[in-house]
């Protein structure tokens, strides 16, 4: 028997609404993703302050120093040492009295790439429970390494 061929009915899914939604989601995540804060360490619980304001223009050269304590899941400090730790970008943690080599290395890096150290801002992100004296020591050590511009970070209070 001869069967008459017919065009197969292909059910086409309308993709337009899905693509619309997906592009909306991508745009949303792109806008709220803050690439500026990729150097911020989540272990540092910044102090709150209502007066602190973000900088109007991003800096060209800065050195971000995250200072805090190792904490457990409940947020309690887990280390025995009384010294706060510098959470460095190399994955190591350095007690504040031992950070001179780290700062010298950073200073050498900026000098080698042709940046003058007085043009580099040292941005200090310190935990609210760190003793102030250790931050002053950190600043003094940074000055010894050749840095002279500083900024201290705080979380904006609503």
């Amino acid at each position: 028997m001869r069967v008459k061929q017919r065009d197969a009915n292909v059910a086409e899914v309308d993709m337009t609404p899905m693509i619309d939604i997906v592009f909306q989601l991508i745009a949303f995540f792109m806008v709220i993703t803050n690439f500026e804060n990729t150097r911020a360490d989540e272990r540092v619980k910044l102090p709150l302050n209502a007066i602190a304001r973000p900088t109007e223009a991003p800096r060209e050269k800065d050195l971000v120093l995250n200072v805090g304590y190792l904490r457990d899941n409940a947020g309690n400090v887990v280390q025995d040492s009384p010294d706060a730790l510098l959470f460095h970008g190399d994955g190591q943690n350095y007690p504040i009295p031992e950070i001179d080599p780290v700062l010298s290395k950073e200073a050498r890096y900026f000098t080698d790439e042709g940046t003058k150290l007085p043009d580099v801002t040292v941005v200090i992100r310190a935990d609210a429970e760190v003793p102030s004296g250790q931050i002053q020591e950190l600043i003094a050590k940074s000055q010894t390494a050749g840095f002279s511009l500083f900024a201290v970070k705080a979380q904006q209070e609503e």
């Binding site: 304001r53 973000p54 429970e129 003793p131 931050i135 002053q136």
Partner: protein, 163 residues
Amino acid sequence: MKFRGGSKVEKIAPQMAPMIDVVFQLLIFFMLTLKIIRPEGEFGINMPLSGEPNPQQDTLLPEMKIRVLAGPNGGLASLQLNDRDLGNDEQAFADLTASVRRIAGDTGGEASDELSVEIDPDYDLNYRWFIQTVGAVSGDRLPDGTTVPLVGNIKFAPARQPR
């Protein structure tokens, strides 16, 4: 002239699959790299190297000295402006801001570089009180939410010895 079969329009469907693949990859990337953090602000600190001339040294107004004393466990024991005790509560910081604002006068909407403050905290003082002191001299927050900038030249005293 007559064309044979001209009435049949051939529909060309673009390949959507590769685009959807890429779009989903992007979506997953942005979802995974998203870190929800509250916005951060900052305060500029003037700490010239020792031996360098400090342009703020020749200002007309005398430098204000703020002493922040620590209590047990790094709490705030006392806030002092030029050796005058202001207390150790929220009102102390409000009084500090009011005193600085009286000295600053009308800053014209910008932090005054004529004004200089040196903050001298105890070694053990929790950093949050240190930042609150910096905030109290940096600006005055009005009830309508606007901030009047005050001192433009803040520096820290050398660290004291721990207890």
